[in-house]
Structure formats: structure tokens, C-alpha cells
Subunit: 323 residues, 2 copies
């Protein structure tokens, strides 16, 4: 039986590689018709996107010199949706890439143990908020930084962080780190890069670990900021390690089993914001990036967009913008 | 029996903390008389220095902001001199700190395996020449960089390096790395820092390791160079780790046993230069540093000084200056 039919297909396309700050004209919304035909005996699937996740690393991949080197994001695997008693959007967040990144980064790279002082930058972001909660489960003392007082409150009152600060307040990062880490930092979960990393190096303790998950302060810069304090790697015997959750797709079942139980018991929370309309995706992304970036170069953010396609003509763009 | 007597004691003293390039007036040779008296029942020893090792990190410790943070070098342990069929000077070199640093750094941090491409900067230095030889024993492809064509020849003809290059030649570091590492770098043994590190990051392979032993291009700079390519830690999943052999003094017996056998079988070589006279130590150190540093900021060097005190009036300053 040939059930082939023509369907509307709407896309947000990157027209130009981006230098510096992205602008709306770098993107284009295109509509076309596609056939749903799948050849007989093919093992192919026809996929209907319900959610699209959009995370900070995407800005990085919009750069010309990067896009040639980085492999395409692995396709979404429908098999991942194992549990249906959670919002479907979770599979683009806590049960998707940000969740896996937090799980792998924290467990494989941080060597965190009870009593360790753990610092998470971009702590209210999709990855950061989970890392903080994982660190609390290990009995660590957890401090997060974020960009507004509201999010500082969120971290401390809802997400269980021991302490948090607004890195934009006071324009004295060194002083803030000194105040919030009187005993230094054992583990730094790096989402930010740039000046934050340079200052944190000076506040690390002997044998500290730095898990490098992202450097979101750097993605719009033509030339990344210079890091001057790497001698601390020797004098403090630090380990600094980058990773990508792309290498750990085989860990998804293990992570899902771990996370779903905690979610059901309300021991692991996830804060997300949702907005609608695929055709607004690019402008929403830009407003968010520009709004944050114009204030500070050592800015950090975490953004997840999700597209919910409820039918051919009704689309909901969901984005989470927590930082 | 009280065998106390007065003895001449000559010292090279650092008069001022050093900023930028050190100068001769930063040092002073002082002579005084000291008593050899050791109280009865004391377990103290009266130590007569036969050799003094002087390594690049010493310049780093001459800086004011550093000297407060870094613990004093552990005292020389006479028990280390277990084997007497090798030159005594070896205990300040291959069987001393540089040897242990190469052993620990290579074995604990590099995760090198057969076929890996290993790059050693400052490869003709006390640490570098040993790391290269250890890597060859593991079946790696080993490339070293150094500052003269003579030392390039030494590395390839005597020390078993597969390839070597003079990083000062041609003033095109990126091009040199591209030529000498057509398949990229799996392990970088870092002795240099600065611009070299920044370029090497771009040439590392996926899952590469960087063992950070020293950053000798940076020790005379008021502000260390900025490193711009740390995003490679994420995109290439790199691990970068600093260490100090000071933390591994308990490994000395294991290392000595490993090394002495290889030395006796002439499977592990050590190249050292010797010069005489403690009173000339500071000027020799300066001539060496200035001579190298004036040519290039991304310069590297390795220097070991040894003082041989053959009696109260006859002193021999020995220094090894290979880079």
C-alpha cells in the first residue's frame, strides 16, 4: 500500500556564516512541500519533529571556521522516548542533550567527592542547573553564578544550591569569587570561558578539576579572549578536560533510568521556559543572545529551543532561556 | 666527642624579587663561616653540597607573586644516592628532579600507547630528552622541538627521536607543526607555554592529552601571554593536566630502579654540560637566559646547574644548558 502524500515542511535556514553577533538576515524561514513516500523494504522512518532543542553551542557552529570541523549533530533517536509520564519537552532538555552533558561531565570528569567545593557557571542554564543538583547529591558544597538576581534566588530557593551570585553585579569578579569561595574551588564546571575562566584559575585549590562543557562568552567573538593564568595548571596541579556528550550516546539508557527515577521522586528538578512559533525562532534566538551579550563580554547564557509541531499548520516554538 | 669546627660557607643569594628579565644585581655571592656543631642526640645531618641543580622553574620562583605561593623545594635526600656506578651529577639530572618529572609526567598523565604521535617541546632539555626516550620505549612516534640545528641533530642522531625541528627557523610555527605532524598530535608534553601552546592546541587530535610540566617561555614576562584556542579542549575532547614531581617523592625508589637498569644497558641516555665555579653561577644563569630570551618570546630552555664542592676552597659549578 502506497500511503505517500505531500506535506508542508517549514525550516529555519542559516543563510550566511556568522561573524561576531548574529543578525536576523543570517537566517531565513523557508517553506516547501515534501513527499512522505518511503520506498518499500526501506528501514527508513518518516520523522515529524515535535520539539527542536536549541542550545548555546549552536551559535558556535554558525561560525565559518568551526562549521567545517564539527560533525553534524546526531539525529534524534525516537527510541529515547521511553517514559511518557513526563513532559515531552523534557526529551530536549533534562532527558536530552543538556541532561546527558551534565551527567557525563559531572560523573566522568569532575571526580567530585563529599565536602568538595563545586562551582558551576551559567548555573541556571540547562546543563548547569542539573550539574548543581548532581553535585548536591554527592554531598558537595555547590555555588552557582548567573546573570540576574531572580535566577540567583531560583538557584538557592528551588534548585538546592548552597550559594549563588549574580556575576554582573558590582563588576568585581575577583572579589565575588573571593567572597563566595573562602576555601577555594575544588571542582569548576565550565560553561563560560573567557575572563571567568581566567579568574577561576586563580581561585582553584590544589589538585582541582575543571570540566569544560562550554565557553559561551566566546562564541560571538572574532578572536577568543586570551587566558593568562594557565600556569596555575602546574602550580596547583589542575586537570582541565573538555568533553562532548555526543561521544556518550551509548550512556543514554543508563542516564534515562537514573534521571527518570529522580524526576518522579521530585529529587531532580528542571526549569524550562517555552515560547511558540517556528517562524519566530531566529528572532527569539537573536533577541535573547543580543540582550545578554550587549551587557558584558564575560556574559553567559543557556538556551534551549523546542519546536512543537502539532500539525501541518500549527507550530509551537518552545524555547528555554535560563542563565 | 665534640668534633665541631668552623667552615667556609659560600652562597648565591637572591637579593630582589625579579620582574621581567633577571639581572646580575638581583643576585649576590656571600661568604660566611658556619659551625659544624651538631648537638648530641640530635638526628640532624651536616650536609656538604657536592652538586646543585638549577632548573628553569627557578626563574619562575624568583617572581614576587609566585614565591609566596610555592612551597620550598624539598631537601635533597642523601639516601637517593643508591647507585655509585654512574656520575654523581646524574643525581641532579636524570636520577634527580628532571628524571622524576619526565617519568611521572609521561607515565601518569600522557596515557601514551603504541603508535601515538608524541610531541615534546624543549626536547633537548633535562626533562624533554627523557620524555622523548620514554615515549620511544612505548612505541610512539616522537617529535621534538628545540632552538638550534645542533640540538635537532642531537635529538635525531643520539636520543632516538623520529623527527625534530628548530622552532626558531623560518618564523612560521603553524607551518612547522603542520609539516612535522601531518597526522596531528596525540600527546603533547608541554615545557614551553605561550604561543607554542596556543598553536599546538590547533594541531591536537581528538582525545589528545597535554601534560603540563613547564611554561618556560613565560617566566620572564610581567603578564603571561594569552592563550586563545582553549575551545579546542571541547571540540577535540582534550585533557590538559599540570603536575609537579614534588608530589611524587615516594616514587623515587621505583624510578631509580627503572632508570639505573636502562642507563647501565645504554638504553637511556642523558646529555649534560658542566661548568665550574659557584661564584659564577648567577652570571652563567643570566648569560644563558638572556642569550636565549632576547631572540624570541616563544623561546624555551632547560638548564641544570650543579655545584661540586671538592673542598672548602675548590668549588666547581656545573651547569647543563640544553634546549
Amino acid at each position: 500500500m502506497d500511503s505517500s502524500m505531500m506535506l508542508a515542511n517549514k525550516q529555519v535556514v542559516l543563510k550566511n556564516y556568522v561573524e561576531g553577533y548574529p543578525k536576523e538576515s543570517d537566517f531565513e524561514v523557508r517553506s516547501s512541500m515534501i513527499s512522505s513516500h518511503i520506498p518499500q523494504r526501506s528501514k527508513g522512518l518518516f520523522v515529524k519533529n515535535l520539539y527542536l532543542a536549541c542550545d548555546p553551542y549552536m551559535r558556535h557552529r554558525m561560525s565559518h571556521h568551526i562549521s567545517k570541523d564539527v560533525p553534524l549533530l546526531a539525529s534524534f533517536n525516537p527510541g529515547f522516548i521511553k517514559y511518557t509520564d513526563v513532559p515531552l519537552s523534557y526529551y530536549a532538555g533534562i532527558l536530552g542533550m543538556p541532561g546527558l552533558a551534565a551527567y557525563i561531565g559531572f560523573n566522568n570528569l569532575c571526580s567530585a567527592k563529599e565536602g568538595d567545593v563545586v562551582y558551576v557557571s551559567s548555573a541556571a542554564g540547562g546543563v548547569g542547573q542539573l550539574v548543581g543538583q548532581f553535585a548536591k547529591m554527592e554531598g558537595c558544597y555547590v555555588v552557582g553564578s548567573t546573570s540576574t538576581d531572580e535566577k540567583v534566588h531560583l538557584l538557592k530557593s528551588q534548585l538546592g544550591f548552597d550559594d549563588a551570585f549574580n556575576y554582573k553585579q558590582g563588576n568585581d569578579l575577583a572579589g565575588a569569587l573571593k567572597r563566595h569561595f573562602p576555601k577555594g574551588i575544588d571542582v569548576y564546571f565550565e560553561n563560560v570561558g573567557g575572563n571567568m575562566l581566567d579568574e577561576v584559575l586563580l581561585h582553584m585549590n590544589l589538585n582541582g578539576r575543571i570540566a569544560v562543557s562550554g565557553m559561551i562568552s566566546q562564541y560571538n567573538l572574532k578572536k577568543p579572549d586570551g587566558i593568562h593564568n594557565l600556569f596555575c595548571l602546574i602550580s596547583k596541579r589542575l586537570r582541565m578536560e573538555g568533553f562532548s556528550e555526543l561521544d556518550f550516546r551509548h550512556k543514554v539508557p543508563e542516564y534515562l533510568e537514573f534521571a527518570i527515577q529522580l524526576i518522579r521522586e521530585k529529587k531532580l528538578l528542571f526549569v524550562e521556559d517555552i515560547a511558540e512559533g517556528l517562524e519566530n525562532a531566529a528572532s527569539a534566538f537573536l533577541v535573547f543572545i543580543m540582550g545578554e551579550m550587549s551587557e558584558s563580554r564575560s556574559f553567559k547564557f543557556q538556551l534551549t529551543e523546542k519546536l512543537k509541531n502539532l500539525g501541518e499548520n500549527k507550530k509551537i516554538l518552545c524555547f528555554k532561556a535560563i542563565c
